[in-house]
């Protein structure tokens, strides 16, 4: 078993994670994280990270200690980008850290997946949850584009969608640095050409993508394309200002973060084969 599925973390790393994750007598933190389940899931999915997507990180040492907000571009229909980024933080972070992903609000209504995600430390993306986690000096992972980003079609790849502004207000309120992240590659995992909105409405999901493989190949169509994924971490931004300021002022700060992500994406795309390159509109 261990030959096929080697432990992705050494003992020192696991010990460090155990020490830095406060849990109660039953082994859970108030958000439902269970370190054992999280580590087992990590072990099972490490080959996806290493072999399938061949993830490479650039500048992960930019992530500061203590409270921090990771803000990447969002894409790829399923939140694979968030999953891979969280895995990168544990596997490659020095020291390893659990980044708590903020998931969509409709998520808890999904059986099985929602349970597993909760055990692995993912949290419903409510501002109160964000603030509480940052006050506990955790690293959180926010996709301000939300479903606007993940539901993008093929021709919109690497085009940043409208960002929500809440994350900047929360960063200002909690004094958390923002680390912009450019995720290059995840935008190509599901080349969606159409969003079947009526069916999405019926199923209660945000979108139902039609790709060259889904739904034509059934479950096989859910398998993402094996695109190499690069994670580019930017310098931490320490924003200053009034968290209850005017929307106009907050928007300016959002644009600053967005520009950083855009330049990280450009930097990353420049190093990839031409086929996938595409300018930001």
């Amino acid at each position: 078993m261990d030959k096929w599925l080697p432990d992705p973390l050494d003992e020192a790393a696991i010990e460090h994670l155990e020490r830095t994750t406060p849990v109660n007598s039953a082994g859970f933190d108030p958000f439902g994280l269970d370190l054992g389940t999280a580590l087992r899931t990590l072990k099972a999915s490490a080959p996806i990270y290493r072999r399938w997507f061949r993830v490479e990180t650039h500048g992960i040492e930019n992530v500061p200690e203590g409270r921090v907000m990771l803000v990447p571009n969002h894409s790829g229909q399923l939140p694979l980008d968030g999953m891979l980024l969280s895995m990168a933080m544990v596997l490659e972070g020095k020291p390893p850290r659990l980044a708590r992903g903020m998931v969509e609000r409709w998520f808890p209504s999904l059986p099985f997946v929602s349970t597993l995600f909760t055990r692995c430390g993912q949290v419903v993306g409510d501002p109160d949850n964000c603030i509480e986690l940052l006050r506990r000096d955790q690293a959180i992972l926010v996709f301000p584009e939300g479903i606007r980003g993940s539901g993008k079609l093929w021709w919109d790849r690497y085009t940043l969608q409208r960002f929500g502004t809440g994350f900047v207000r929360i960063a200002l309120e909690t004094g958390s640095p923002i680390v912009p992240v450019g995720i290059v590659g995840a935008e190509e995992t599901y080349p969606a050409v159409y969003n079947l909105k009526p069916l999405a409405k019926l199923l209660g999901t945000p979108y139902v993508p039609i790709t060259p493989f889904f739904p034509w190949l059934g479950l096989l169509g859910v398998v993402p394309l094996p695109v190499k994924i690069d994670l580019w971490f930017g310098e931490p931004l320490v924003l200053e200002g009034d968290p209850n300021g005017l929307d106009r002022d907050i928007q300016a700060q959002v644009e600053r973060v967005k520009d950083e992500i855009r330049s990280l994406l450009d930097q990353g795309l420049a190093q990839r084969p031409r086929l996938t390159r595409r300018g930001d509109r």
């Binding site: 269970d34 609000r105 509480e132």
Partner: protein
């Protein structure tokens, strides 16, 4: 201090009264009769309803200084309409009697159910959150209105010191409430694919929190909780039982079709979505720390 305790025939009230009687005088009142052979440390008054004339008589005869309202009818006990009568009308009448009778201390035991189990809930709900419970199930309106009646009394009658407690699931070896009974089943039902976070509190911790609220000097609404959170399936295992998964598409219609005392369907949401409350305010202002860990609490449910 003379304390009138409602719900006195219940197990939790007995634990509270046994500790209370060391320093205070206790009068028990309930809409249920005392079980054979059970005694409470003080006189016991039986009333048919809390909003009955006889209740005023009890106040006149005993002239209590404090009211400890633990007599909230749970979902298993009565039909929705009767529960509304007892919990809403009963509570309002009791509080009215307190206002007229010069009662100085009022402690009302509400429930965390008032926040509702909702997929949009964030974790660690504090006392200022909206009470969403009735959004999906009107059957739970009685609990929300009981809570509301108590908080209204708190603001309107500042001459009395009022504390409203919203405890999480109270479980323990002597309790016979829904949660304790569930955890004593050999195969304990859970919804397939859902495993919400829950909070549990040992009956002795709950009794201690109630006493603290009664003898303290703060006014307000407080969440009260045990040590930590635990998913339902783990809770079942910690209680020494095995979970039995039921698909939610079957569980909801089944619970609705079966008589309410079998399993109240409006409580099913609490087994699907998490309702995790923050008890930070109570811990800080009352200096309360639960004595039982989550593991010990659940381990103690089995008799």
């Amino acid at each position: 201090m003379k304390v009138l305790v409602t719900g006195a025939a219940g197990a939790l009230a007995r634990i509270v009264m046994e500790q209370l009687v060391e320093d205070h005088e206790v009068v028990g009142v309930d809409v249920r009769r005392l079980l054979d052979g059970r005694l409470i440390p003080g006189p016991f008054e039986y009333v048919r309803r809390y909003n009955q004339r006889r209740m005023a008589d009890v106040f006149r005869r005993h002239r209590p200084d404090a009211l400890l309202h633990l007599g909230r009818a749970r979902s298993m006990e009565l039909s929705t309409r009767k529960r509304y009568d007892q919990n809403v009308l009963g509570t309002r009448y009791l509080l009215e009697l307190c206002a007229h009778g010069g009662v100085r201390e009022v402690v009302v035991l509400s429930t965390f159910h008032v926040y509702g189990a909702h997929q949009y809930n964030h974790v660690l709900l504090d006392e200022d959150e909206p009470l969403r419970a009735i959004q999906t199930f009107p059957e739970i309106a009685d609990s929300v209105e009981l809570d509301h009646a108590a908080t209204t009394f708190l603001w309107r009658h500042r001459e009395a010191r009022t504390v409203v407690l919203r405890p999480v699931h109270i479980v323990g070896p002597s309790l016979n409430n829904l949660m304790s009974r569930l955890l004593r089943l050999r195969r304990c039902p859970k919804l397939w694919g859902y495993d919400p976070l829950m909070q549990f509190m040992h009956e002795r911790d709950a009794a201690r929190a109630i006493l603290l609220a009664l003898t303290g000097d703060r006014v307000g609404v407080y969440n009260v909780a045990g040590e930590g959170v635990v998913p339902w399936s783990r809770a079942i295992r910690l209680a020494g039982r095995r979970p039995m998964a039921i698909p939610h598409v079957l569980a909801y219609p089944a619970a609705a079709a079966l008589p309410e005392r079998f399993f109240p369907d409006h409580l099913l949401d609490y087994f699907r979505y998490a309702t995790v409350v923050s008890d930070q305010r109570f811990r800080e202002e009352y200096g309360f720390t639960p004595a039982f860990s989550t593991v010990d609490t659940l381990g103690a449910v089995r008799r």
